[in-house]
């Protein structure tokens, strides 16, 4: 157990240093949500969105998940590079826990996306967001858990397809519909029945609903419960799949 923790910390440190070396990598992910905040957010302020809270309380959780979704799903590119340079195989030949090989990487990703989420929330506060602190912190926790899950899946997929020109289109094909169908930009409360029903098949739908509930101070309703359960199930499944792929990769 302590070996597993120190392996994870060691690899986390290696990848965190890698990220800290690149200011571009640290900030770029926050750029798209910031653009949405500034140029799209003001359009919503007067609109009836069919939900509790004002438009910022609806939009910001969606933007944070959008940030996490796009960022984490593309995380797999880095492991394709490591596979091609032989770094991954060298690590797999070492007596390192396979779970640590995955977690060292995805925890760096999760930390990066939570950091970017903080930047977005600070900017949103300047623009007019008012939400309870506890709800905002719960929101960051959701971003952390969700990006851990998505980055794990991304690494697993990347090692399965192993070619960047197959991986890119695959991820694009997954992330766009996931974003639209989860109601990240506008709440699904506005949707016709069929679209609302369809969106309930998307795991992120529950997560964004829970985050929005948190942003209006509703911590004990069913939305929060479903969001927590869905995130827990997602992260457990994704980490299991990811670890298995790290065990077998390279055939």
């Amino acid at each position: 157990m302590s070996a597993f923790l120190s392996d994870t910390a060691l690899l986390f440190g290696r990848y965190a240093r890698q990220t800290l070396r690149s200011k571009f990598q640290m900030l770029f992910g926050a750029l798209m949500p910031l653009l949405y905040l500034v140029f799209f957010g003001p359009l919503l302020t007067g609109l009836p969105l069919g939900t509790q809270g004002d438009s910022w309380q609806v939009l910001v959780p969606g933007l944070l998940l959008q940030l996490g979704l796009f960022g984490a799903l593309f995380a797999g590119f880095s492991v394709i590079i490591e596979q091609q340079s032989g770094v991954l195989e060298r690590m797999r030949a070492a007596p390192v826990s396979r779970l640590a090989l995955l977690l060292g990487r995805v925890l760096r990703d999760a930390a990066l996306f939570v950091f970017q989420a903080v930047l977005v929330v600070l900017a949103a506060t300047a623009l007019g967001l008012r939400a309870p602190l506890a709800g905002v912190l719960i929101g960051f926790a959701f971003v952390g858990v969700l990006t851990t899950a998505l980055a794990s899946l991304s690494y697993a997929l990347a090692l399965k397809v192993s070619r960047p020109h197959d991986f890119g289109p695959l991820i694009n094909g997954l992330s766009m519909p996931s974003m639209l169908l989860s109601g990240l930009m506008l709440p699904m409360a506005l949707a016709p029945g069929w679209l609302d029903a369809l969106s309930h098949l998307m795991p992120f739908r529950y997560v964004v609903d829970a985050m929005r509930a948190g942003y209006v101070g509703d911590y004990t309703g069913t939305a929060m419960l479903y969001g927590v359960l869905m995130s827990a199930a997602l992260v457990a499944a994704a980490v299991t799949v990811g670890t298995r792929v790290f065990r077998r990769a390279g055939a």
């Binding site: 890698q18 032989g86 007596p95 077998r248």
Partner: protein, 260 residues
């Protein structure tokens, strides 16, 4: 007791173009402290065999024990005792030489201070001391190869797998590596399993040779025994012996070995 033994080790890759039988049932044993030269033409299955013995690739058939641990049942036990230098290396271009060496030590569970000291020691052994603060991207091909080798030695493994370790090294570095390999064996009893296409190297360094061809063992024995048996005389070149074993067109009698 053999430190490596394999029985019918097999690996078939499935590709779009059909199955590729890279390794078709290899039986071999290596004794503790032995330097084994693992030879064979391009595509013979050397790297595939090494990747199986180092737990990186699951065999599709057969079994093996390495350093007292079963390859399939206890891969973690195997990993603790072996070092592996891959044919194409494995360092991150953005990371400094020092960071790679220290992290590698830590991956093999050396305490922090010991990992740092070991990195310095390896840098001395492989003439990397002046390069420690460069990024790996800023190394020449041969310097990077020396770093790859240093990475494989970090934890003083009982069994060391070297896949074409000296490809790209200048003659001086090559001679240094030969000395290092002999020293590892003499001082620490390390077993070394190495592939090479330089037959002078195989001849000078190996206690015993195993020649594979098309995924099977084609011949094995000491360099002199193989020369006598396949090359016609103990004075035959290993080049002619190798060509005779692998059934490639025999070289004209007076050709000097191409290996430098």
């Amino acid at each position: 007791m053999a430190i490596i033994s394999t029985a019918g080790l097999t690996r078939t890759f499935s590709t779009k173009a059909g199955p590729v039988e890279a390794v078709r049932g290899i039986d071999l044993t290596v004794e503790r402290g032995e330097i084994l030269g693992f030879l064979g033409p391009n595509g013979a299955g050397k790297t595939t065999t090494l990747r199986m013995l180092t737990t990186l690739l699951a065999p599709t058939g057969g079994a093996a024990t390495v350093a007292g641990h079963d390859l399939l049942r206890d891969p973690a036990g195997v990993r603790r005792r072996i070092g592996y230098v891959a044919q194409s290396g494995g360092v991150d271009p953005q990371v400094s030489v020092r960071e790679e060496l220290v992290t590698q030590g830590r991956l093999y569970r050396l305490p922090r201070a010991e990992a740092a000291a070991r990195a310095e020691e390896l840098a001395r052994d492989l003439s990397l001391t002046d390069l420690m603060d460069r990024t790996c991207a800023a190394l020449s091909g041969g310097q990077r190869r020396r770093l790859d080798i240093a990475m494989g030695l970090t934890h003083r493994p009982e069994v060391l797998f070297l896949d074409e370790p000296t490809t790209g090294l200048d003659p001086g570095s090559r001679a240094d590596l030969w000395d290092l390999v002999r020293r590892l064996r003499d001082e620490y009893g390390t077993t070394v399993f190495l592939t090479t296409h330089y037959l002078d190297e195989a001849d000078a360094l190996s206690d015993r040779l195993v020649v594979v061809d098309k995924g099977r063992v084609a011949a094995e024995g000491t360099p002199s025994a193989l020369k006598l048996r396949y090359g016609g005389s103990i004075d035959a070149t290993l080049q002619d012996t190798f060509l005779a074993i692998t059934g490639r067109t025999p070289a004209p009698v007076d050709t000097t070995p191409v290996a430098v």
